[in-house]
């Protein structure tokens, strides 16, 4: 007979196995992350096998984490992957204020502002100490006519400019609030210190928003500067 604890062990072992990438998978995800960060506003796509295996918001953390990295995964009752991720990568768990890598799944969207407020930003002399934050959102689109986002009351239109963007690039994001972008603006106000952000969706999209990107957010009829 299988006990609950035994079932728990099996489930946990399966979660850890899902978090263990081979070299080719790690390289593929790392390349996507670099591409996304080098060309803010261009949407990249995770390989299908990664999408099917685990929540995409965790993939960048798995690729960057090792025994010398401190990670924080925003937990909810439906989303408890931090322990499995630590077992798979050997990374150390950390509070937000000292974490190198932070993941916020869509289920914990209400924590985004709090995380962006207290995540490390580094200093002018050590900007590399700024946190890398991965945020799970509902949808990302580069097409203004995307009906699902346009009709959503939470959809935001982002006008991006800065390094890696020729003139201007427009992206639609659903699942993050205007207030969250204002917090990101405050965190990235003193370049080169700041926070680099990736946004991911459950259907495998990834969007990079490095600290150097100038973001103008439009919500419904309003327009607000976010960096």
């Amino acid at each position: 007979m299988t006990s609950d604890l035994d079932t728990d062990s099996r489930q946990y072992a399966a979660k850890v196995a899902a978090c263990r990438f081979n070299a080719l998978e790690s390289q593929a995800v790392f390349k996507l992350m670099l591409e996304a960060l080098s060309r803010p506003g261009l949407i990249e796509q995770f390989p299908l096998e990664i999408q099917h295996r685990l929540p995409c918001v965790l993939a960048p953390v798995i690729v960057l984490a090792d025994v010398e990295t401190r990670i924080h995964i925003a937990q909810t009752s439906q989303f408890n992957w931090e322990s499995a991720l630590i077992s798979a990568t050997g990374a150390r768990p950390s509070v937000i204020s000292t974490a190198d890598l932070i993941a916020i799944p869509l289920e914990a969207a209400e924590l985004i502002s709090q995380v962006l407020e207290s995540a490390p930003r580094g200093t002018a002399l050590a900007p590399e100490h700024g946190a890398r934050v991965i945020i799970g959102v509902r949808r990302i689109s580069s097409h203004e006519a995307e009906p699902a986002i346009k009709e959503s009351s939470h959809g935001l239109k982002l006008r991006l400019s800065g390094p890696g963007v020729k003139d201007e690039r427009i992206v639609w994001v659903d699942g993050i609030s205007l207030q969250d972008f204002q917090t990101l603006q405050r965190s990235n106000a003193h370049f080169p210190s700041g926070i680099d952000v990736w946004m991911t969706t459950d259907n495998g999209q990834i969007l990079g928003l490095p600290r150097s990107t100038h973001i103008v957010v439009e919500e419904h009829s309003s327009k607000q500067e976010a960096h």
Binding site: S9, Y12, S87
Partner: protein, 143 residues
């Protein structure tokens, strides 16, 4: 014995002793049936940090080869990392860590092994210090 100390001592225990105790535990049916390998032994490099004794500042001595493993017994997880590339002993040490969490009788046996290791380390340090003592220099400060 707290878990940090136990893990530290299991990493320093003699390979044969660790494997022998792990095999004894594994011969119990309940352990063998409920054992799950969460992370099979894997070899990697980690940066070794050392604290120098004058200003007590940490510095990186260099990278060392280690093997780590993680197991679970009926939901009780055990973890180990040991210097070197001995996969079998790393897995055995993780098993001992899990057994110590799972059963108090087994915990006592693991503690005995850890105590033996601690005594051995202390004896080695005393003996090394005795060798070094002859070279100690006493400085006198001038007023």
């Amino acid at each position: 014995m707290d878990r940090n100390r136990r893990t530290e001592l299991l990493a320093a225990s003699q390979s044969q002793e660790v494997r022998q105790l792990a095999e004894t535990f594994l011969s119990e049916r309940a352990i063998a049936e409920e054992l799950h390998v969460i992370c099979p032994p894997e070899i990697g490099m980690i940066m070794m940090q050392v604290r120098e004794p004058v200003c007590r500042e940490r510095f990186h001595l260099g990278e060392v080869v280690v093997t780590r493993a993680e197991v679970a017994i009926a939901g009780f997880r055990g973890w180990a990392v040991r210097a070197g590339s001995d996969r079998e002993t790393a897995l055995a040490a993780a098993l001992l860590d899990a057994c110590a969490e799972y059963d108090s009788k087994m915990a006592n046996q693991v503690t005995e092994l850890c105590d033996l290791t601690a005594q051995r380390i202390a004896a080695d340090e005393r003996s090394e210090w005795q060798e070094l003592l002859a070279t100690a220099v006493a400085f006198e400060e001038l007023d």
